[in-house]
Symmetry: C2
């Protein structure tokens, strides 16, 4: 049993720092039925913060799987009008959206890919306006997590279900900076200020490349395109109110130059891809492209991933996460993007966020490629951060400055006053998919 | 833990006997999140029976209460368009509707009546078409039950939550005739045949009155209006397919003559009204109206109930339930209409079902009163059945025939071949409210 005051504090964090609810505003909470307790705490916190009304949109993973197994295949080409109306009407009315993300990593194993793709396509078409509003920060939104039994047992397979649930709860609360006797909202004010300082330094420095090195054997230069933008922490919504779209969030991230990545890099954590685990792997890059790779485990899976399309052999994201951040220190492999992508400094193979390039959101795909912004059907993070990671920033004139030492930002990199620049921050579109029901 | 095969059999009963799902038909299941297990079994059974798709519309009692406590009072004057669309669109498309009814009897204690009335009024207006379709049997529907923790602890207050849940599950399964090694659908075929036989006998006999007597002191003559109809068991939907709107259902019922009830009647079980328990009570009737009453406990509450309006002192329903039926034999007070109204022979104070009179559905309220069909804001069942209850049917010419002896139908009353007459059966409108979310 998680203490009531911790859940209350977590809910207050989601409502205040997360979606920053306004007096009289409506809120939609998407929640698995297994996370009902947290959903109720969040609803209560929203009402206490002045929300006019809260709607909980429930889902059930086990029914989701049952439906994929048994329903007429044609239903996955449809999307119910009432569900579209639930999301689109609320978005049009200015509601805030909270999504509780708690997924059994093995839930959809064995379900034919065509059904999944059809369902995704139908949802995409029906929820186009809703998603666009959230992507453009017209509505404030936040993705958070709570444990489910299946997920907890995947993360802690040696424990009883009850113990696993408790342990996963403790791990989540610790990563989101909710702890006994501390004001979580104030902790997040400090944390977001930290991320904004780091992003401000990186944006002001406007490096042409980063040089990564550590004892694992990583020695990699990642080029950064002209006009790249570092984003992270909280963002500003269209109405000027700040919000934090992901809780937890430990990263600042940008777009690498798809043509200028050179050297070798070793992964520091396993990668779980479509239910398979890839371990002890690394890549050699030349002119932005993977020219060699190895893996102690899951080499075939990695090979398939790299060969998905032209862009899957190039980088689409570079993200900086301090080794001292709570997820990294927990040592837990969460099998959940929201946590694992915040576990360490990472790179991603595949698609880049156009919003991480100045005016990128308005560019067509050819123009984006010309500017070094990668495209692919995939976007797969892999962790490279270690306790001894050092990163130098390389200016256009060739001078260098230490950005990371011993796995963390240098003092120099945090000296910059945070200047929040509205419109330059990427709304983390890959997480957005968790908001769909 | 309830055995998987019992849940499977219960779900099969709901899908086949309850809504009688057709190949290619859609189904909506309204379920509290606490009843997710049964909801999934019902969904699986529906798919196995050929349903095209199943939608589960979830609700959560604890959030319902939280919302009544904390939301802006104005929201209860609204009804969300998406929720209206969920029910109305599905009804228009010919879906079947299952509602899992599992209510904490004390859930809304202390919530201001105005909020509840406003919410009910808004839902009533928004769901008018949907409800009309179900009332007219245009769509097939079924209300069933599964335990929730709060409800189970109310019924078995001396047990642990886990024990109470298990005991309530066993009680429910036994009342719905689901048991190890038996085919529940076949059991219900026999049961419905039994109810149809009894109704056919009562309808053919067209008694002018019933005369109730037992050792408790009941000696009551209940007049029956010209054109009254006995209904019960399964009904025929607009498309000709049979369905059973309530599982369990043990009664056949009709409308008494509001002006012709004379004698005294003693209640055989306590009555729970708005959270208060009335015990050891009875009435004296003259010319259809209560002229005296007594109660060992809850006399004031009963007094208030009787004085609600003019119709609350007259009868609106007479229902026959064999003393040997499973709910009666269980001896459990369920605090749940679906079960308790099927516990014994009963009468109801207040509003009558117009559909229990020939052409009654088309009559205005004045015409109905003229025909002896009572009207009131209330409809309160009270149990009068005992092991020694005898009921005689009185023909127009004064002859009598035994209908009940020793608490059960006489053989004579069951000798009639069931003639199902479409359009003469009442759709039990008071249970229908359970279908709203």
């Amino acid at each position: 049993m998680i203490e009531e005051k911790l859940l209350t504090e977590y809910a207050r964090l989601v409502v205040n720092t997360g979606v920053n609810i306004a007096a009289g505003q409506d809120m939609i909470v998407s929640s698995p039925i297994e996370c009902a307790e947290l959903a109720r705490y969040i609803a209560a916190a929203a009402y206490d913060a002045g929300a006019r009304d809260v709607t909980i949109s429930w889902s059930d993973e086990r029914f989701t799987r049952l439906r994929y197994e048994k329903a007429d295949a044609a239903v996955f080409n449809e999307f119910p009008a009432w569900r579209r109306s639930l999301y689109s009407d609320a978005a049009a009315d200015g509601a805030a959206f909270v999504s509780i993300y708690s997924t059994d990593p093995d839930l959809l194993n064995g379900i034919p890919g065509e059904k999944l793709r059809n369902a995704e396509r139908s949802a995409g078409a029906a929820l186009l306006e809703y998603r666009a509003k959230l992507m453009n920060n017209e509505n404030r939104w936040c993705v958070v997590s709570a444990p489910s039994a299946a997920w907890a047992c995947k993360v802690f397979p040696d424990l009883s279900t009850e113990q696993a649930l408790d342990k996963l709860w403790r791990a989540i609360l610790s990563t989101v900076r909710v702890s006994e006797g501390k004001d979580a909202v104030k902790e997040w004010d400090k944390h977001i200020d930290f991320l904004h300082r780091a992003a401000a330094f990186m944006n002001k420095s406007s490096f042409s490349a980063l040089h990564y090195r550590n004892g694992l054997g990583t020695d990699l230069v990642v080029g950064l395109p002209e006009g790249h933008i570092w984003a992270g922490g909280s963002e500003k919504a269209a109405d000027g109110r700040m919000f934090a779209a992901n809780i937890p969030s430990e990263e600042i991230y940008t777009v690498p130059d798809r043509m200028h990545v050179d050297g070798k890099v070793e992964a520091s954590k396993p990668l779980v891809y479509n239910g398979s685990t890839i371990e002890g792997f690394g890549f050699v890059f030349k002119d932005g492209r993977v020219v060699d790779f190895h893996a102690d485990k899951g080499r075939d899976v990695l090979d398939g991933l790299l060969k998905m399309d032209d862009g899957s052999m190039r980088l689409g994201e570079a993200a900086l996460v301090p080794y001292d951040s709570p997820i990294s220190k927990s040592g837990v492999l969460f099998y959940n993007t929201l946590f694992d992508e915040n576990a360490a400094c990472h790179l991603a193979l595949g698609k880049a966020y156009p919003t991480c390039l100045k005016d990128g959101a308005e560019m067509d795909s050819v123009t984006l490629l010309k500017h070094g912004v990668n495209d692919s059907l995939i976007h797969e993070d892999f962790m490279i951060g270690t306790a001894d990671l050092k990163i130098d920033g390389i200016y256009k004139d060739g001078r260098t400055v230490p950005v990371f030492r011993d796995g963390n930002f240098t003092e120099n990199a945090l000296a910059e006053a945070p200047v929040f620049r509205h419109g330059e921050e990427a709304p983390a579109p890959l997480i957005l998919k968790q908001l769909n029901i």
